[in-house]
Symmetry: C2
Subunit: 579 residues, 2 copies
């Protein structure tokens, strides 16, 4: 039977609880948002004793369903002040699920100094002293951790930024080669767990019973439909777009559309796009390695395999992974057109334990405010070291773009609810802007990726400048909340939007595991139920419609090359989730 | 006829407008809050092009009514994100009023570098290049300004903190000896005017027509009643409490009551209270000067005269003025028990152009977060220099306690709506806590000074721990909004609460100037009308009941010596202004 594992940092105890009936059909984001909604006072201080951090594998995570090794990390966010779910792919949640653990709740607050880890096995959970690992880079300490605990364990960790309770600190998970590269990056989840002095959760799946599947035939039927869809769609198939060029395949596409935010959202087009694109990554690797290099999965069982490595001139590995969001945030958004510099900045983010999106957005705001010139990659690298060292400037930058704007009195901060925007210009692509503004998560493309129909002609084909997209954004946000609960990577969306059998497969996989009889309509219903809990939390935390708005400067500053402002009426934003 | 002067920083033009009929009976806070409410988009960025800063003398300011030289400064606050009125006493607003100017509105946004001043005379308003004064301390540049413009002008100015758009930057006004010491300190009004690159407004009253008085006899009758009340009450009379010991007379009183916040609100009692009290200031001056030194007014015509000077061991002047709030914020709240160090810190605040309350509160939060030990006055002085220099640490601290808490991931930040609390512990004195939580201004004692009946037995005598004080707080907030509009100093409240004729005098003075027929009931009505505009602005800016709350740690941390937590029910807070 599945359990909930509670880790109490006040008295350093761990307890296993039965899963309440009302949580039985929840997983991933549905479960983290429910537990946070039920157990965390929305008015609590995110870094005080009354916040809780919840990890939950998805419903089908730990099974052999393709591309399903996702974990949700939830808490009250120190970055947004609202509820947060931040999602990553790793073997870690697969091991958690196989151990029969539906969620891990980290709660309480230590009164003593020191850092702690928890090791979870089939026999239980025990603390270990982790103080020796504090203050060091994750790339430095990960090899020793796997030596100590075994190469097949999964590790959730925070870096020095999390130790220092910085708002851009993520929770890091090991990738398939046990690098510290897969992040629940957004919203400062690393700061929350850092405030509780928990440095690691090591999960050893040895002898794990595996995930219970209520209806194996149905599950297998769904799994096969999903697999076929993923293997068929141009974006997700082997040697398809994502497998070849990674997510950075989007660079040239968004740049062409004039929606690629450049130099802190001063333009929608970057003259250095081509040299920092997915194609450039592929070609550089090919040149430096003397062969074509296709991508790998971030967790076992992923068939999309979009995670890349980037190599130095001598062919040795520089970093994994250069995502679209990362090459943009630390590239175009900072006016940096040098892939080697971008790779170094991403490596630093991984090592320090911070979100690449917020990091790049913050550097861009600092440059915009006059602290360095756009394009000055050496300044950016130096600032990363300031974050690592915890200098005063590091504490400003480490707390994100909004805090950086406040510290330097700078009003051009392109964020919503305190979280900086990702790599899609809302003035040029209105639907994603509606998602940024109305998402329970702050500015977040993964909350409702309307880019699919607006730019990629996936799941429809709508004009990027059309403003009447409240329904579109809502539909995407609902479906996304469900996918984030399923344990599938959001990238299945490309295949299931275009291939109806893929969508059927998603529902059947979940029904197979849970023994439910959900239909396609339940996807929308369940998604909305999750959003309703998140919306209720945020309202109780003090959010109003005034928080569902774009930053003011986007309303009066025209964005080149299309010379567009943010012109979606407030009423359209309010129509997404009603009043 | 009265005019409104608009200073447009986009094109550096000044214009005079007739006062609209609906503004005719407004002054001070009533007028600033009305103009901000009418003209400023509540969702605008406080430091962006669409905020406006409004100066308004009170209704009777510029007349010979006693203690009436007050100015209101209003804008959207970069510290709270809501509407702000910050009030100071100086000859400056008296000169503005005598020139027939009812309000000065600073608007627009410069596109060029450089700093500007505006000189206002009876003949009009003209710009002058103020770049030569930028980057320098106010104590350094004030003498030269008065040499240039004449010793009888009034000067409104910002210091380097305002130039750097810091959230604790105030607007400074000259005192009666033309020192830069009287501040509209709270809420970052100096940052707003700094964002517009306006450094000074110099007002020359030469040949000014003076304030029109509709009914001179009625005004004189009211003025006499007010004067009698002020000269009779023990707190406000010559050689009374305030004239002898200054506002710091409160130190021992609040300390005795266990309501004197110490070491970032970790205790309600400070072992160094006696050596940093008003009595200690008086005695130290007596010892160092060889004579009793009574206080002086902050503007011509003040009969209370509570503003002190503090002298060095050799008898030379160190600083003016050591207020109660300042000796507390930079003393007890930082664990500093040395008046000479406190004097130096206040002098630095005056020179740099920052609010002493927010400055001390910020230093205390930084100490609490572990950046220095409590009591380390050298660290505090060094931090002031960091603010002056605009170092990264200076940018953190200069933006106040909430930003400092965010930067260092520290949850013990004793503020409401982003503004740090003044020198009354809300856990030990519940009514003032209700005011802090519900005030439109963020944590602010001057919004509704229930300390009078709770601690001083003025205007009633209620138990400090009693929680049922929503009505009390509302009544004080209403009356205060009226007094802040009248142009009287809030300290008239002591006399008019206890002496009915003083209250009559207040109303008659206003009726005399305006030709109105207000009664005592209108004071409440007019006060509530002002609050209603402020509340509407804040709601539109996104404030909800969740913002009308105490910081969470006060709900679970017991405050010595009374071991009390914040236990006023949320319902009582919501009852202050309804839903």
């Amino acid at each position: 039977m599945s359990k909930i594992l509670r880790i109490n940092m006040s008295d350093r105890t761990t307890t296993y609880e039965d899963v309440p009936d009302e949580y039985k059909f929840l997983g991933g984001r549905g479960l983290t948002s429910t537990i946070v909604h039920e157990e965390v006072d929305p008015t609590c201080h995110p870094l005080g004793p009354n916040n809780k951090l919840v990890f939950a594998p998805g419903i089908i995570t730990g099974t052999n369903a393709p591309t399903s090794g996702r974990v949700s990390v939830g808490a009250k966010s120190p970055l947004t002040g609202g509820i947060k779910e931040s999602n990553a792919g790793s073997a870690w949640p697969q091991l958690v699920a196989k151990l029969g653990i539906k969620a891990i709740v980290v709660e309480g607050y230590p009164t003593e100094d020191g850092w702690w880890g928890v090791r979870v096995t089939k026999d239980g959970a025990e603390f270990f002293d982790a103080s020796e690992y504090a203050g060091k880079g994750l790339c430095e300490i990960f090899p020793g951790l796997f030596e100590r605990f075994g190469s097949k364990v999964g590790i959730a960790a925070i870096g020095v930024a999390g130790e220092m309770r910085m708002g851009m600190a993520g929770v890091c998970f090991n990738d398939i080669e046990n690098r510290p590269t897969r992040y629940s990056g957004r919203g400062g989840m690393g700061a929350v767990i850092g405030s509780k002095k928990l440095k690691f959760i090591v999960v050893d799946g040895d002898g794990a019973p595996g995930v219970e599947i209520a209806d194996k035939d149905l599950f297998d039927q769904g799994r096969k439909k999903m697999l076929d869809a993923l293997r068929t769609h141009d974006i997700t198939k082997p040697k398809g777009t994502l497998n070849t060029y990674g997510t950075a395949a989007l660079v040239n596409v968004l740049n062409e559309a004039g929606g690629y935010p450049t130099r802190n959202f001063r333009s929608g087009r970057f003259e250095g796009a081509a040299t920092t694109s997915g194609e450039a990554i592929f070609e550089t690797n090919q040149k430096r390695l003397g062969k074509e290099l296709y991508n790998h999965g971030c967790h076992p069982g992923c068939t999309i395999q979009c995670s890349n490595t980037y190599h130095k001139p001598d062919g040795t590995e520089h970093v994994s992974c250069i995502e679209y969001e990362s090459t943009w945030s630390l590239g175009a958004n900072c006016g940096i057109d040098d892939l080697d510099a971008i790779a170094e900045l991403i490596w630093l983010c991984n090592d320090i334990g911070i979100d690449t999106i917020e990091a790049g957005g913050t550097i861009a705001v600092a440059m915009d405010a006059g602290l360095a010139d756009f394009g000055d990659s050496q300044a950016a690298i130096q600032w990363m070291e300031e974050i690592r060292q915890g200098t005063p400037l590091g504490h400003i930058l480490g707390n994100g773009a909004a805090t950086t704007g406040t510290a330097f009195g700078w009003h051009r901060v392109p964020g919503c609810k305190g979280q900086n925007m990702p790599a899609y210009e809302p003035r040029a692509v209105k639907g994603i802007g509606i998602t940024y503004a109305t998402s329970t998560m702050g500015a977040d493309h993964t909350s409702g990726y309307t880019i699919a129909p607006e730019i990629l002609a996936v799941g429809g084909d709508v004009d990027q400048f059309e403003t009447d997209k409240a329904d579109l954004s809502r539909a995407f946000q609902q479906t996304t909340a469900f996918i984030d609960s399923s344990g599938h990577c959001l990238f299945i969306a490309f295949a299931i939007l275009d291939i109806p059998e893929g969508f059927e497969g998603l529902v059947e996989e979940c029904n197979g595991v849970l023994g439910t009889d959900w239909t396609g309509d339940d996807v929308t219903r369940i998604g909305q139920e999750i959003l309703d809990k998140e919306l209720a939390f945020n309202r109780a935390a003090g959010f109003t419609k005034a928080d569902d708005r774009m930053p003011e400067f986007m309303k009066y500053e025209k964005l080149p090359p299309h010379d567009v402002v943010w012109d979606v009426p407030d009423e359209a934003l309010d129509a997404v989730f009603g009043s």
